[in-house]
Every structure is written in C-alpha cells, then in structure tokens.
Amino acid sequence: MKRSYRGVLLLSFVLFLNIVCTQQTVNAYYYEKYETVLLFCVLNLILFPLAFWIYKRERDVK
C-alpha cells in the first residue's frame, strides 16, 4: 500500500519553522529588539492554525 506522507512532511516543515521562530524570538529579546520579538512571536502563533489546517486537509488522505 502506498501512503501519502505529504501531511507529515508539511507538518515537519512547520515544526522546523517553529523552532526557528522561537529561537529568533529569544535572541531578539536579548538584543532588546522588541519589535523583532513581536514579529517572530506572531509568526510562531500563526504557524499553529496553519499546522491545524494542514492536518485537517491531510488527515483523510489515504
């Protein structure tokens, strides 16, 4: 049986972006660049609905 790994791959990518954004948030915080902190914080928050959307689209794919 051939499966679709697209969902898993896409979600892996989202998690990768999550790691990057979290790291950048903390870095910017210590550099006192608070606008950048907010930017990456919001990006990180947006990634969650995105992940959920991918999940909903991919969960029933055989």
């Binding site: 898993v8 892996s12 979290t22 948030t25 608070y34 990634l47 969650f48 995105l50 959920f52």
Partner: protein, 175 residues
Amino acid sequence: MDQGQKGNIPFDEDNYTHNIHKDNERSLDRRSFMKLMVGAAGVFAVSTLPWGAIAAKELAGFSNKKYTAAKITDVSDLKVGEAMEFAYPGKHDSALLIRLGEDEFKAYQNACTHLKCPVFWSKEQGEMVCPCHHGVFDPKTGAPTAGPPRRPLPEIILEREQGVILATGVKRYET
C-alpha cells in the same frame, strides 16, 4: 467476541496488549502522529507568548525606563589593571568594573551572554573570561572574541565625580 478466540490459545497476537480494544489505542498511525505534530506546534506558539508579552510591555513603557545613579567605588580603591564586582541596576544584576588605565574605566553586566555564568576579569590575559565554556570578551567593547558567546556584554555607563565612580545606566545595543 469469544468466537474469534475460541480454540485459539495463545492468541493470534500474543503481545500482552490484546485486551486493549479502544480504537487506535495500540497503533500510532499517521493521523495521530500528525495530531501530535499539530500539538507540538501549539506548544511552540504558547511558549513564545511570555517573550512577546514582555516585549510589548517594554515597547509600551519604553520612555519611562529610568536608571538611578549609584556609587560603585572610590577611584583610589581600585588599582590600574584591577577589577571589582558590583551590582547594577538591580541587587541581583551582577556587574564588573575594570580599571584599564589611569583614567580608563569600563563596566559590564557580567552574566555571560552564553548561559549566564559570571564572567571574571583575567589580569594576566587582559580579557574577561567565562569559566563555564571558555568564552572570552574584549574589555574595551564587551564584544565576545572567543568561545560560544555571540552577543556582547551589556555595558554600564559610568561617570566620574570627585574621585568616585558612578554607574548611571545600561547602554542599549545599537542597530
């Protein structure tokens, strides 16, 4: 239920979990794995919230961040090439004052920018050294010159008044 198992001992699946009947309980399939990944994305999102909240607070109350001047030491108490520890701006923000020359004083908050170990002044090397992972900082600028730290130490603004060294603020990072 029983029909399938009659005369079928040991069970087909003799793996100690044959009595779990709940759906999907025994297998981590692709769908639940994806669910797990979505959950992880959620955890990441939530984990950045505190940072964002503090940043927003800093941005909102940016202008009223004031430092009060504090006396560190008398000039006569610190020989050239020596250093001393003090705390600024808060009681627990340890900092390091170095007398590089007759009239040259430099002070930095000395929590290492790698993992917060206290950085000390090495007179022999003429550098600030972090004992934890051998991070090295330039005493003239606070910039890291070796080891894992990547961010300069925050510099403390000094003033000299009648033989007394005062701390008046902490420099912000440029750019």
